[in-house]
C-alpha cells in the first residue's frame, strides 16, 4: 500500500497540520515507507485473536459521582495564548 499525493494531502488535513503543496511528494514517500514496514503484520495469523484493549487485566474503577474540583478559572486560563473576559478566545467560528 503506498500513499499518493492526494492521500498525503487528505491525511495532513485530517491531522490538522498545514503542509505546503511542494512538500507533499516527500511526505507521501515517507509515509509510504513507514506503511511498507508495517505491512509485515499481514504475515501474522490473527484469526480469532482479540485485539488488546488493556495490557494489564483490570476493572476500571468508578469514582463517586460528586464534584471534586473546580472554581479555578484563573488557573485554567493562565496558559492560554488568548484569553478574554474569562474565556478562551479563538477566531470567529460562526458567521
Amino acid at each position: 500500500m503506498s500513499i499518493d499525493i492526494d492521500t498525503a494531502r487528505r491525511v495532513a488535513h485530517l491531522a490538522r497540520i498545514a503542509v505546503q503543496e511542494d512538500d507533499l511528494p516527500e511526505l507521501a514517500r515517507e509515509l509510504s515507507g513507514i506503511l511498507t514496514f508495517m505491512e509485515q503484520l499481514n504475515e501474522v495469523d490473527v484469526e480469532g485473536v482479540e485485539p488488546m484493549t488493556s495490557v494489564t487485566p483490570m476493572r476500571l474503577k468508578r469514582r463517586e459521582d460528586i464534584v471534586t474540583d473546580g472554581g479555578m478559572q484563573g488557573k485554567i486560563l493562565s496558559n492560554a495564548p488568548d484569553a478574554r473576559e474569562g474565556f478562551f478566545a479563538v477566531p470567529k467560528v460562526v458567521e
Binding site: 500513499i3 492521500t7 498525503a8 491525511v11 495532513a12 488535513h13 485530517l14 491531522a15 490538522r16 497540520i17 498545514a18 503542509v19 511526505l27 515517507e30 509515509l31 515507507g33 513507514i34 506503511l35 514496514f37 508495517m38 505491512e39 509485515q40 503484520l41 499481514n42 504475515e43 501474522v44 490473527v46 485473536v49 482479540e50 485485539p51 488488546m52 484493549t53 488493556s54 495490557v55 494489564t56 483490570m58 476500571l60 474503577k61 469514582r63 479555578m72 488557573k75 485554567i76 493562565s78 496558559n79 492560554a80 495564548p81 488568548d82 478562551f88 479563538v90 477566531p91 470567529k92 467560528v93
Partner: protein
C-alpha cells in the same frame, strides 16, 4: 566530603543519615556540576531556587530523624513531567512558555519523599525519538566519546538528557519515561541503569501523554539498588490515573538479596538478529554465563512474535499519539500561530500545529491519523492490536513455564554519532527499539544494566525482563548481573 555528585542514592542516603554531608551541600555541588556541563545540553531549565529551598527542608527533616530514603536527593526531571510553575514543554515548540498550574503525581511523590528538583532535562520532542535529536532545545550530548575520535555521540532517546545528566554526575538520579525503550536505550548508551516498571506501577497523571497504553515513568540511576530506592518513591496507586494499579508498593530494595539460585533465566532465540554485532552477541553470552555462575538456570526460550513487535508498535504508538496530541490546538496553552487576514479556526489549528510540531512528531501524528482513518482502522490498527495480544501471550507462555526473567541485549549497537542517522530512513531509527519495544507492548517491567564496553570504549547494556509486578525479583537478578559484570567505567571529563 569530595566528589559529592558522584555519590549513589544509597551512598548519599547513608552519608546524610550519618550527618557526613547535607542536602544543601549535595545540591550545590550538583548545581555547580550542571553549570560546568553546558556542552552536554542535558539540563534545559534550571530551578536552583526551588532546589535550595527543598534541600534546606530536607536537611531539617533528616535532622529530625525518620526521613525517607529519597530525602535530600538532588534529581533531574525529564521535561515530559509537568512541574508546577516550572516550564514543562516536552521539548516541543508547541508548548513554548507553558507553565503548568499542577504537579505530576510522580514528581509530587518524589517531593513528598523529600527529593530535590535541580531542573528539567532534555529529551526527544514528545518522547518521540531514539537519539534526542528531535528536541526543540537542540541535541543532548553523550558524555562518552569513542576512544579514537572526538565526534559527539547521542545519549540515546527519548530520555537522552536524563541519561547524560546521570552519567556525567550532574545529579544523583533522574526521572525518565519509556514508551518503546526511552529509558532503557539511553541508559545502555550512557552506562547507567534504567528501569521501566510494569505498566500501571507509576501514575501517568501529569506526564505529557505520548501513547497512553505504553507510557510508563521510571528511574534512571547509577546503580540497580538506586533504581529500587527511587522506584519505591515514584510508584503507587493514584485515583487520578485509572490505569494505575491499586497494589501495595513493596520494599524493592529489600528484595535485593543477591541470591538468584534456582531462578530460571530465559534466552529468547528470536532476539538473535541477523547482522547483530559480534560484541553484542558476546556481551549477551557473557551475561548469561554470569547469571549461571550465580546459580541461575539458563533456558533457551522462544517468543515467536518478536519480529512483529516493531511494526505493531509503530501502528499503535502513532495512533495513540495522534489522538493524544490533538489537544495541541493553540487554544488552551502553548504556541498559537500568527494568523493572516480572514484565517478561520481551521487555519489556526493547521498553522499552529505545522509551526509547533517538529518533523518526527508531524510524521507520527499523520501516520497515526492514517491508520485510524475510516477504511484503514481494521487493516492497520485493529490488526496491530491483535498482534499485540499475541506478543503478550508469548511472554505469558514462557512465564507459565516457570521462567523468572528474560535476558536480552538492551540495544542493537553502542551509541551512534549525532547526525549520523540524519539521512537515514525514519524506519532505520525505529530499529533502535527492537529489543525494548516488546516489553512495552506486553506491559512488563524491564531494566537495562551496564555490562561492558565495546571495542571503542563505549558502554553496552543488557536488558532483563521480569514478570508483571515483580520488579523486586527483577531488581534482585539485575543487581547480581551488575555485580558480576563489575561495570565501573565512567566517561572521562572533556566538557
Amino acid at each position: 566530603m569530595s566528589d559529592l555528585t558522584k555519590l549513589t542514592l544509597a551512598g548519599a542516603r547513608d552519608a546524610l543519615r550519618k550527618a557526613e554531608t547535607t542536602s544543601v551541600a549535595l545540591t550545590e555541588a550538583c548545581l555547580a556540576e550542571i553549570e560546568d556541563a553546558g556542552a552536554l545540553n542535558a539540563f534545559v531549565h534550571m530551578t536552583p531556587e526551588i532546589a535550595i529551598d527543598q534541600a534546606r527542608a530536607a536537611d531539617a527533616r533528616i535532622a529530625a530523624g525518620e526521613a525517607p530514603a529519597m530525602c535530600g536527593m538532588p534529581l533531574g526531571i525529564k521535561d515530559l513531567f509537568c512541574t508546577r510553575e516550572v516550564p514543562s514543554q516536552a521539548a516541543s515548540h508547541i508548548l513554548n512558555g507553558f507553565r503548568p498550574e499542577y504537579e505530576s503525581t510522580v514528581t509530587q511523590k518524589l517531593w513528598d519523599a523529600g527529593a530535590v528538583m535541580l531542573g528539567k532535562l532534555n529529551m526527544d520532542e514528545f518522547a518521540m525519538g531514539s537519539s534526542n535529536e528531535s528536541s526543540v532545545y537542540g541535541n543532548a550530548v553523550n558524555p562518552w566519546r569513542r576512544d579514537d575520535d572526538d565526534a559527539p555521540l547521542t545519549p540515546g532517546g527519548s530520555s537522552g538528557g536524563s541519561a547524560a545528566a546521570v552519567a556525567a554526575d550532574m545529579c544523583l538520579a533522574a526521572t525518565g519515561t519509556d514508551t518503546g525503550g526511552s529509558i532503557r536505550q539511553p541508559a545502555a548508551f550512557t552506562g547507567i541503569v534504567g528501569l521501566k516498571p510494569t505498566y500501571g506501577r507509576c501514575s501517568r497523571w501529569g506526564v505529557v501523554a505520548f501513547a497512553s497504553s505504553l507510557d510508563q515513568a521510571g528511574p534512571m540511576t547509577k546503580t540497580v539498588r538506586d533504581a529500587a530506592i527511587m522506584l519505591g518513591a515514584m510508584a503507587g496507586h493514584d485515583p487520578k490515573d485509572s490505569t494505575s494499579a491499586d497494589l501495595v508498593v513493596p520494599d524493592f530494595e529489600a528484595a535485593i538479596t543477591g541470591d538468584i539460585r534456582g531462578k530460571k533465566i530465559g534466552i529468547p532465540r528470536e532476539y538473535r538478529m541477523d547482522g547483530m554485532p559480534a560484541e553484542i552477541e558476546k556481551l549477551w553470552a557473557d551475561g548469561a554465563a554470569m547469571l549461571r555462575d550465580a546459580g541461575a538456570e539458563i533456558v533457551d526460550i522462544s517468543l515467536p512474535h518478536t519480529k512483529y513487535a516493531l511494526p505493531a508498535y509503530y501502528v499503535i504508538a502513532p495512533a495513540e499519539a495522534s489522538s493524544n496530541l490533538a489537544r495541541y490546538d493553540g487554544v488552551r496553552y502553548g504556541h498559537r500561530a500568527k494568523l493572516a487576514q480572514g484565517d478561520g479556526i481551521v487555519q489556526m489549528y493547521e498553522k499552529t500545529r505545522a509551526e509547533g510540531f517538529g518533523p518526527e512528531v508531524q510524521r507520527r501524528v499523520m501516520i497515526g491519523t492514517y491508520v485510524l482513518s475510516a477504511g484503514f482502522y481494521d487493516a492497520y490498527y485493529n490488526r496491530a492490536r491483535k498482534v499485540r495480544t499475541l506478543i503478550k501471550r508469548d511472554f505469558e507462555t514462557v512465564f507459565a513455564e516457570g521462567i523468572d526473567a528474560i535476558l536480552t541485549p538492551a540495544t542493537p549497537s553502542a551509541a551512534f554519532g549525532l547526525g549520523e542517522m540524519a539521512e537515514a530512513d525514519p524506519v532505520q531509527m525505529y530499529l533502535n527499539d527492537v529489543f525494548t519495544v516488546t516489553v512495552n507492548l506486553a506491559g512488563l517491567p524491564g531494566i537495562a544494566v551496564p555490562a561492558g564496553l565495546d571495542a571503542k570504549g563505549l558502554p553496552l547494556g543488557l536488558q532483563l525482563i521480569g514478570r508483571p509486578w515483580e520488579e523486586g525479583d527483577l531488581l534482585n537478578t539485575a543487581e547480581v548481573l551488575e555485580r558480576a559484570a563489575g561495570f565501573v567505567s565512567k566517561p572521562s571529563k572533556w566538557w
